[in-house]
């Protein structure tokens, strides 16, 4: 604990940052809602909305620039993508309101929206 004495300010800074990050995570976790539907945005425009309650498999994009979106058991996942980094594929499944999968090369955002399947836009920030 010698380090703490000589690095008091560093330790305080680290503690404050971790607390802030933790508080933000707890806040988001506490206010999470099960998602109602999945919204697909390309270039910032919503191109489709799919209910999470229905299992679907859909190919987005064309040519080599595709992302395959799969909805199963109330969760959405990108299972295949025609981009080199595969970040969206590695991201895994999303099911809570506010969660999203991003494919930057294809300017695609797949996000879960809360509330009913009717398309009421619950503010998820």
């Amino acid at each position: 604990m010698e380090w703490l004495k000589t690095h008091r300010n560093d330790a305080i800074l680290i503690a404050v940052l971790l607390l802030l990050g933790g508080a933000l995570a707890v806040f988001l976790y506490a206010t999470r809602q099960n998602g109602g539907y999945v919204s697909v945005q390309v270039d910032g425009e919503t191109v489709m909305k799919l209910p999470l309650s229905e299992d679907t498999r859909i190919v987005l994009g064309e040519g080599g620039h595709t992302n395959t979106l799969v909805i199963t058991d109330g969760a959405a996942q990108v299972v295949e993508a025609g981009c080199p980094d595969q970040i969206c594929v590695n991201h895994g499944a999303i099911r809570y309101a506010g969660e999203s999968i991003v494919c930057l090369p294809h300017r695609l955002v797949v996000s879960v929206e809360g509330g009913q399947e009717s398309g009421i836009d619950a503010g998820t920030g």
Binding site: D10, I14, L17
Partner: protein, 162 residues
């Protein structure tokens, strides 16, 4: 510019570049953006050994070279904003004289990740990236501690020959 300085610039830039490449070989850590920030070893070292402006130059050259070699345009926007925010905050914190390389590097790590999320929000015109924030916030803190400790030791141990 003195020859020794040119050599130091070249060495540190090359080192940062190699560390970027090395990091790209590591397996993804689950969430995009969560990473160690190995190139920042060279940047934090430069910040302490050479100075703030020198660290900025090395960081900028690294970002441009990495983009030319491995990346794309979108990645450049991410990297530049992240690196700029990070360097601005690290410079400020270092100037207060109240923090060691650990605190400075932690602030840099968090600023870097926060900057990247801001760019993502602007580029994708969406505010639905809230979940990334706490994850990248904490990962930036942890990575910052590691980088700060190691580069602090390096500054102490690597002999200053200029």
């Amino acid at each position: 510019m003195k020859a020794s300085k040119v050599a130091q610039y070249g060495l540190l830039t090359a080192l940062a570049l190699v560390l970027s490449w090395l990091e790209s070989l590591l397996p993804p850590l689950g969430v995009p953006g969560v990473k160690l920030g190995l190139p920042n070893l060279a940047v934090v070292f430069a910040l302490y050994r050479l100075g703030w402006k020198d660290a900025c130059v090395i960081s900028l050259v690294r970002v441009v070279l990495v983009t030319l070699l491995f990346g794309n345009g979108a990645a450049l926007a991410y990297s530049v904003v992240g690196a700029a925010l990070s360097l601005a905050l690290m410079g400020l914190l270092k100037r207060t004289g109240k923090f060691s390389s650990v605190g400075v590097s932690v602030a840099g790590g968090v600023a870097h990740n926060a900057g990247q999320i801001l760019v993502a929000m602007v580029l994708l015109e969406t505010s639905r990236l809230a979940w990334y924030l706490p994850v990248l916030w904490v990962s930036g803190t942890v990575a910052g501690v590691l980088i700060g400790v190691v580069s602090g030791e390096l500054v102490k141990r690597v002999p200053d020959k200029t």
